[in-house]
């Protein structure tokens, strides 16, 4: 009885138990579209909440000038700015402005909020990108090593490193770095995004973008490039170390989980090497939850960036937010918080898409 299972099978209809065919193409496109459209209500809700929260605490004029002007003068100023109208009217007025890209005018320095956003938003974005790179380069491989050497000494050391990384306040790390590398060793600049001379050279460029590194590259001047990069090193490390510590723990925990899965033993039983099991077989499934948390972390970094930017006088959104808050410029604060909300929503969207690309089961 030499059977040919293979020949008989061809006559068998395809399995009813097997799921219907759902290939990547249309499903993924639809998925991305749905996720993208979900940004709109998210941002809308955030915008509404921010608006009303700001107004609950009073109007910007009373906040900024209260006590310095007489009540009559205050009322007059309020009326001029339209703050005496019913809240709901102001709200729709604000919404209408936002739809046209008009976020209002900052009260203290009379700059359109949209301009603040592009200029300083670009700076923050640049800083966060550097910091994410630092965090990834440090956190992911170290996390893998920790998972691999679980409960042995390298893991113990790395766990302490991770805790130090995310438990030490950003401004403290920043000050320490400045003290050692700028003041002490004099290797790197103390603060700012660029030196005055660099700024002057940079001023010659047409259509400057908010991204200094990009402009320096366009300029093609090595000295400017080094200048810009040198200024970014310490802030990037200060902010990156914090997130890197979190990434390390995250990668470690998830990799320990996937390394214990049966498919790892299954691949091991077919002779796959331990190194490959770690870097390929266990890493990719572990990335699914990691990517989700990373997205949230990047959003958190914008919060962390306020401290970093202040420490290094990096003129980004966080730095400006702190400045405007001190000046009680609610219009500007509202605009910046809005911007941060949009960035959070966008990064969540990117996370969802990346997770779907990694995990073939997330498709619909």
């Amino acid at each position: 009885m030499t059977t040919g299972l293979d020949t008989e099978v061809e006559n068998t209809p395809a399995s009813p138990a097997a799921r219907p065919r759902r290939r990547a193409g249309g499903g993924l496109g639809r998925y991305i579209l749905v996720r993208f459209l979900l940004i709109i209500p998210t941002v809308f809700i955030l915008m509404t909440v921010v608006f009303f929260l700001m107004r609950i605490t009073g109007d910007p004029i009373t906040a900024a000038l209260g006590g310095r002007l007489t009540p009559d003068q205050l009322a007059q100023r309020r009326a001029e700015a339209g703050y005496d109208r019913p809240l709901i009217v102001q709200y729709f007025d604000y919404l209408g402005g936002v739809l046209h890209g008009d976020f209002g005018m900052s009260y203290t320095d009379r700059t359109p909020v949209s301009e603040i956003l592009t200029t300083y938003g670009g700076a923050t974005f640049e800083l966060v990108v550097y910091a994410v790179v630092v965090a990834l380069v440090a956190g992911v491989p170290l996390g893998m090593i920790a998972a691999r050497t679980r409960d042995r000494w390298p893991d113990a050391v790395l766990r302490v490193v991770a805790i130090l990384g995310y438990a030490t306040p950003v401004f403290f790390v920043g000050l320490l770095l400045k003290l050692v590398f700028s003041v002490g060793l004099g290797w790197l600049p103390v603060a700012g995004r660029i030196s005055t001379r660099g700024e002057l050279t940079m001023g010659t460029i047409l259509n400057p973008s908010p991204f200094y590194l990009l402009d320096a590259l366009r300029l093609g001047r090595m000295d400017v490039l080094m200048d810009v990069a040198g200024h970014a090193v310490l802030p990037a490390i200060a902010l990156g170390v914090l997130t890197g510590g979190i990434f390390l723990r995250l990668v470690r925990t998830n990799m320990i989980g996937t390394l214990e899965m049966q498919y790892i033993d299954s691949a091991r039983s077919r002779g796959v090497s331990e190194a490959r099991l770690t870097t390929r077989h266990a890493l990719r499934p572990a990335l699914i939850p990691i990517v989700t948390v990373m997205g949230m972390q990047i959003a958190m970094m914008l919060g962390g960036a306020v401290l970093t930017e202040t420490t290094f006088e990096w003129n980004g959104l966080g730095y400006m937010l702190a400045e405007y808050m001190k000046a009680r410029d609610y219009v500007a604060v509202q605009g910046i918080v809005m911007m941060l909300a949009v960035i959070v929503a966008l990064s969540n969207f990117v996370v969802d898409v990346v997770a779907a690309l990694i995990d073939p089961r997330v498709r619909y």
């Binding site: 030499t2 059977t3 138990a17 498919y263 033993d265 039983s269 490959r276 077989h281 990719r284």
Partner: protein, 572 residues
């Protein structure tokens, strides 16, 4: 032509595929040293299928894993494990990796978790190939993956190698696992409960495939299982493990016909054997008449249960118009494979899911459109026993608190002493010492926990008990005592019961009436003997024929009959 099963090869030294001598395995745990395997010796000849049977904790899986050097770091092994002449004990690094896959490969219990969910099939097959042939090209890998899938009967292999594991059914995944083992040319396959997670009709196909692989390639198989029906179906010889030692080894027919050890005899006696024990025929004619005349407690008419789809998707129809009734004092056995809707029906009767169409009367209440407020008084008249005793208890409550929980909810007037008394008398009736009341769930064994589960379901003296696979997580001997207990209690207390199971033999030994579900439809409904001996639906016949009975001679005949009717091909 397959080797005849009666001839037990005693291989010459050195020619065996596997030769284990004096294997000892210790685990260093927080609670001290655990001696998991104690002086095991065995050998497997080319083309031999050796079954290692035993209950959980007997050391059978640890033995199996040691053959591939897959023991955890806390384990320490001594003795010798010769795989094709190479000793695996103490082997590590490159030489161990070379051996894995090429000389010996492994198939796991849960095919869904034995495959990496985020890589396509061809890539996973390729990883094994690459480990042994570093220079292999992507094109060669894909070609070999197609051949491998073809050899285990996966239709359309050229197209399907690009799919991911979740796109295959459980049986197909297990086929692919076997294909991966074959792709590397392993001469010895260690199969750790390869069919336990599969439905019985799929199990029959996988067993057939393993037999076929042995016949075609002369592959030796070590089959780790607790299912004596599977042993009777597939094995040439059997080793019985008990507390880390092999206490008996014999040819399969010899072992079943003439078990020498008392433990083996008990083990075999505990296995439910299809058609040997019918709950319905065990009743007197008068008792049968009483049940027939009793008023129904559950009546389903054209019952439909749907799960809502995600936004913009059609709902999933789990139960598609089912009619049945359960009378007072009657045990209704609901049989079906995974996804057939049997659990959904049980949960809907208990008010845990919503009926979405047709009519379902439970203890006089219409469940279609019922409101929680109206259902609450009915709830106390229904008991529920869940499948997994490990997860159905709150780990932070003592046994007494677990059992007394329904009393707290439904009998708020009771004093603590009254409750405590009731719990203790219940513990007694499920044959556990009342001292267990103060223990926590994790301190109990699976069988004990399932008794507690039963006690909890019975604490309010229900008129209807729903038991969803209450014994499928238990060892055979434990299962048989829990089933005995269930039978006793049902006869004594006279509650009606819905007993959900995938195992026809278990259901027949317990249920007066049997319903067979197939993809949400009830295809068979009748008394035990009628369903088993005169099945009306083709699927029921197939289900009965697929279930291996724990008797190699009878099973060989059944298998032949099965093949005459349905062939040997893959249909899953």
């Amino acid at each position: 032509m397959s080797a005849t099963r009666s001839d037990i090869r005693s291989p010459e030294p050195g020619t065996a595929r596997l030769e284990i001598t004096d294997l000892d395995i210790h685990f260093a745990t927080d609670g001290g040293d655990v001696h998991a395997v104690d002086g095991v010796s065995l050998s497997v000849a080319p083309g031999e299928i050796l079954a290692i049977v035993g209950e959980s904790g007997s050391g059978k899986s640890v033995t199996a894993r040691s053959i591939l050097g897959l023991l955890p770091e806390t384990a320490e092994d001594s003795g010798a494990i010769l795989v094709s002449g190479t000793d695996v004990v103490g082997l590590s690094g490159r030489r161990l990796r070379e051996l894995r896959g090429e000389d010996v490969s492994m198939i796991f219990q849960e095919p869904s978790s034995a495959m990496n969910p985020v890589f396509p099939i061809w890539w996973q097959i390729g990883e094994g190939l690459k480990a042994h042939r570093p220079k292999i090209t992507r094109k060669e890998i894909r070609a070999e993956a197609i051949t491998a899938l073809e050899s285990v009967g996966i239709p359309d292999p050229a197209e399907r190698i690009d799919r991911y594991p979740h796109e295959f059914s459980g049986g197909q995944k297990q086929r692919i696992m076997i294909a991966m083992a074959l792709a590397l040319g392993a001469e010895l396959i260690v199969a750790d409960e390869p069919t336990t997670a599969l439905d019985v009709t799929v199990q029959a196909e996988i067993l057939e495939l393993l037999r076929d692989v042995r016949d075609r390639f002369g592959t030796s198989v070590i089959l780790i299982t607790h299912n004596m029906g599977v042993v009777a179906d597939l094995a040439d010889s059997v080793a019985v493990m008990y507390r880390g030692s092999i206490i008996e080894r014999a040819g399969v027919q010899e072992l079943f016909a003439n078990p020498r050890q008392e433990y083996t005899q008990k083990l075999l006696a505990a296995v439910p054997h299809l058609g040997r024990r019918s709950a319905w025929t065990a009743l007197s004619t008068q008792q049968q008449q009483e049940i027939e005349d009793a008023a129904p407690v559950v009546v389903a008419k054209d019952l439909v249960i749907e799960y809502p789809g995600r936004l913009g998707r059609a709902p999933f129809r789990a139960v598609k118009g089912v009619d049945f009734s359960i009378r007072a004092g009657e045990v209704y056995g609901l049989v079906g494979e995974s996804g057939s809707g049997k659990t959904t029906i049980g949960r809907t009767i208990a008010g845990l899911e919503r009926a979405t169409g047709g009519s379902l009367q439970v203890l006089g209440h219409q469940m279609n459109g019922v409101r929680e407020k109206d259902f609450k008084p009915v709830r106390r008249r229904i008991g529920f026993v869940f499948q997994d005793p490990a997860t159905s208890f709150n780990p932070h409550l003592t046994i007494e608190e677990c059992i007394a929980e329904p009393l707290v909810v439904h009998e708020p007037g009771q004093t603590t002493t009254q409750r405590s008394q009731q719990v203790r008398s219940l513990l007694e009736s499920v044959e556990l010492p009342s001292a267990y009341a103060t223990r926590y769930p994790h301190e109990l064994s699976g069988g004990q926990r399932q008794r507690i589960s039963l006690a909890r379901a019975l604490v309010l003296d229900p008129e209807l008990l729903i038991a969803d696979e209450p014994t499928s997580a238990l060892d055979v001997s434990v299962q048989s005592t829990v089933l005995d207990l269930f039978r006793d209690l049902q006869a004594r207390l006279g509650f009606a019961a819905l007993f959900i199971s995938h195992d026809l033999a278990v259901v027949d030994s317990l249920a007066h009436r049997i319903g067979v579900l197939l993809r949400g439809e009830l295809v068979e409904d009748g008394h035990g003997p009628d369903v088993l001996q005169r099945p009306q639906h083709d699927y029921t016949r197939r289900l009965i024929a697929s279930l291996p009975v724990p008797d190699p001679v009878e099973q060989a005949k059944r298998r032949e009959a099965f093949q005459r009717e349905w062939g040997r091909g893959a249909t899953d």
